[in-house]
């Protein structure tokens, strides 16, 4: 919801001064505009009738905003105009104009990112903002350092979630995602790292105790090993189960037939 995006958004100007709303928004719009026709063409082919109906009307708009960016902003949320919108729309200009083209991740520029980039260089792979949500991808070698720094110096004292996403076609197959929240800044960010299959990640247990079960679940579902975890073992599946079900190569009907046979005494759980 836009309210949520308002939260993080309103924080970054604090760090960046007046730069964010004025400068960051306008250079992005021309970038966002070119994909618009592309998306508009793609959609009718892929989706059936309803999608194009809404798209062209909205897609027509970005051509104007491209010229006069700031003026067209309020017009963008065409469909579901809301009474509370004027207030809500104002602080989130970057997200609104991007809408017709399909929102595009924008670079996340803030003091924090600049600092980290200066210190770690290419260790910070990318720092992006998508729909007002900030996330950065870091190299797995500096991940523990970054996470600890996030808690100790940047105030991200609450580790909301740790999870993973499997991209089997990539060389670095897994994204490990840390969702962090700062009570002091009321800001939520995500720190991601990419690892190869079989590569280990440093456990965040010594940073946030909540990582205990969250990492066990990631291990259970993806088979990602966290070094330094006090007791890394399966949490939701039986301990002697084979396979990690949330990997993409694990079919939804697949199961550990042997386990089912031995423990349940039936041929199949299906």
């Amino acid at each position: 919801m836009p309210e949520e995006s308002k939260g993080p958004e309103s924080v970054s100007p604090l760090a960046e001064g007046a730069k964010a709303p004025a400068e960051a928004a306008s250079p992005d719009k021309p970038q966002a505009a070119p994909p618009a026709p592309a998306a508009g063409v793609k959609l009718p082919a892929a989706a059936a009738s309803p999608a194009p109906e809404s798209k062209p009307t909205e897609a027509a708009k970005p051509t104007t905003p491209a010229a006069a960016a700031a003026a067209a902003k309020p017009a963008a949320p065409a469909a579901a105009a809301k009474p509370a919108a004027p207030a809500a729309a104002a602080p989130k200009p970057p997200a609104a104009p991007a809408k017709p083209a399909g929102p595009v991740p924008e670079p996340w520029e803030s003091e924090l990112v600049a600092k980290l980039k200066q210190q770690y260089g290419s260790g910070i792979v990318e720092a992006l903002s998508y729909l007002g949500q900030k996330y950065m991808t870091v190299d797995s070698s500096i991940l523990p350092e970054i996470l600890r720094r996030m808690r100790d110096e940047e105030g991200f004292d609450y580790c909301v979630d740790i999870t993973a996403v499997h991209y089997p076609k990539r060389e670095q197959q897994f994204d490990v995602v840390y969702v962090l929240y700062s009570f002091a800044h009321n800001q939520r960010i995500r720190v991601k790292t990419r690892i190869k299959d079989g590569e280990h990640v440093e456990s965040a247990f010594s940073i946030w105790r909540t990582a205990d079960w969250l990492e066990r679940e990631v291990f259970d579902m993806f088979g990602i090993v966290f070094d330094g975890h006090p007791g890394l073992k399966r949490i939701l599946l039986p301990e002697d189960w084979h396979g990690h079900p949330l990997r993409k190569d694990y079919d939804i009907l697949q199961q550990d037939k042997e386990w089912v046979h031995i423990n349940l005494g039936i041929e199949s759980g299906q």
């Binding site: 309210e3 998306a39 579901a80 009474p83 609450y158 995500r190 946030w208 909540t210």
Partner: protein
């Protein structure tokens, strides 16, 4: 005993001890124990009646909700989320719908937002009523269970009239609501508010100053605010420890920013404070309901959402304040009709992790009280 030797968490001495020559013993509680609220198994390491450590064994109710999500379309997955926290199904649905809406970059129209808030707050009350009834029953007070379930029935009746279902409601759709409020919906909610406030006093009369209740809950399962934050504990448990944090205020969603309500907090972070906080939360929910019903606008209830939902490529994490804490959804879209990855951040799962910290040094009977006060639902823990 043979099972116990396998546990690395408890750091058991695996030498040939028998039960009798050991002063410490390992006790298995659950998964069918009545006060574990479902199928939670807790392994307790005891010194006499004192708890030295615990380990939770969960997963008995694991249905692979996240895997199912990857194999269903966005619309098809919507009813599944109700089956996680089944005593607060409406909240689950709200969180999911909002996350997909965020991914689509649409917002529910104002009328839908109000209907959603009314339904969700009713659901919060219903969830707290189930908590109160079962928690009190665990501790030995039988009457609150009947009182709470009697009053919850009225909420379920409103749910049933609204969407035809009482428990797993599937009340909302991506983009808004599919059902218009039925004739007399507002009156029913108003009536419920006036009906429920005296009932809430009745619960309090039974428990708040009840000597047995106070002795069983005061000073039991203390959780310090810094422990809460380190353990990622959210919801009433966090607030009872004195941290004034509620997502409805911190990052308001739907129309909560228009609502005037307080965030009740506790001081000691014990079971008694958590009880008081939840009772106070029910009062605040009634306040929200009264305001929402008065202000509910007219207009459409569904935003313009394509029939085939294909969010653009991207990923979004969004969370709401469910009755049990922060309920988050992390959805990765690859531009197709099915989510590439759905991650549910369940409050019960994370909160349950605090059990060990809370019961160390306490008595076995307190374990029962603490499991109750954590207000877990195993459907959500195991997913």
């Amino acid at each position: 005993m043979s099972d116990a030797t396998k546990l690395d968490y408890l750091d058991l001495d695996t030498k040939d001890k028998t039960f009798l020559d050991s002063t410490e013993m390992v006790l298995n509680m659950g998964p069918q124990h009545p006060s574990t609220h479902g199928v939670l198994r807790v392994i307790l390491k005891l010194d006499g009646e004192k708890v030295l450590g615990t380990e939770c064994v969960i997963g008995y109710l694991h249905r692979g909700v996240e895997k199912i999500g990857e194999n269903r379309t966005y619309t098809m997955f919507n009813p599944y989320v109700d089956r996680m926290d089944y005593v607060a199904a409406v909240s689950n649905g709200l969180g999911y719908c909002e996350t997909v809406e965020k991914l689509l970059n649409v917002e529910a129209p104002p009328r839908a937002q109000y209907i959603r808030v009314i339904m969700t707050e009713l659901c919060r009350i219903a969830s707290h009523q189930v908590w109160l009834g079962t928690h009190a029953l665990d501790i030995g007070a039988v009457t609150p269970l009947f009182y709470a379930f009697r009053d919850r029935e009225e909420i379920l009746r409103i749910f049933e009239k609204y969407c035809g279902a009482r428990l797993t409601t599937h009340a909302f759709r991506i983009g808004g609501c599919i059902y218009e409020a039925y004739d007399g919906f507002e009156e029913d909610v108003k009536k419920y508010c006036t009906f429920f406030l005296p009932k809430l006093d009745e619960y309090e009369k039974l428990l708040t100053t009840n000597r047995i209740w106070v002795t069983r809950t005061k000073g039991v399962g203390i959780l310090k605010p810094e422990d809460c934050i380190a353990l990622g504990v959210t919801g009433p448990v966090l607030r009872a420890s004195g941290v004034k944090w509620d997502l409805r205020k911190a990052q308001p969603y739907e129309c909560y920013k228009d609502m005037d309500f307080e965030i009740p907090t506790g001081i000691n972070g014990d079971t008694y404070d958590r009880y008081l906080v939840r009772i106070a939360e029910m009062r605040q929910s009634v306040r929200i309901l009264q305001q929402a019903v008065e202000r509910i606008p007219t207009g459409p209830i569904m935003a313009k959402v394509p029939k085939v939902i294909k969010p653009p490529v991207g990923e979004v994490y969004h969370s709401i304040e469910a009755p049990k804490g922060e309920l988050g959804y992390f959805i990765v879209s690859d531009g197709s009709t099915q989510p590439y990855r759905v991650r549910v951040r369940p409050p019960s799962f994370v909160n349950l992790q605090a059990l060990d910290t809370m019961v160390r040094g306490m008595l076995v009977a307190d374990v029962v009280a603490v499991i109750g006060t954590l207000d877990i639902v195993l459907g959500e823990v195991d997913r």
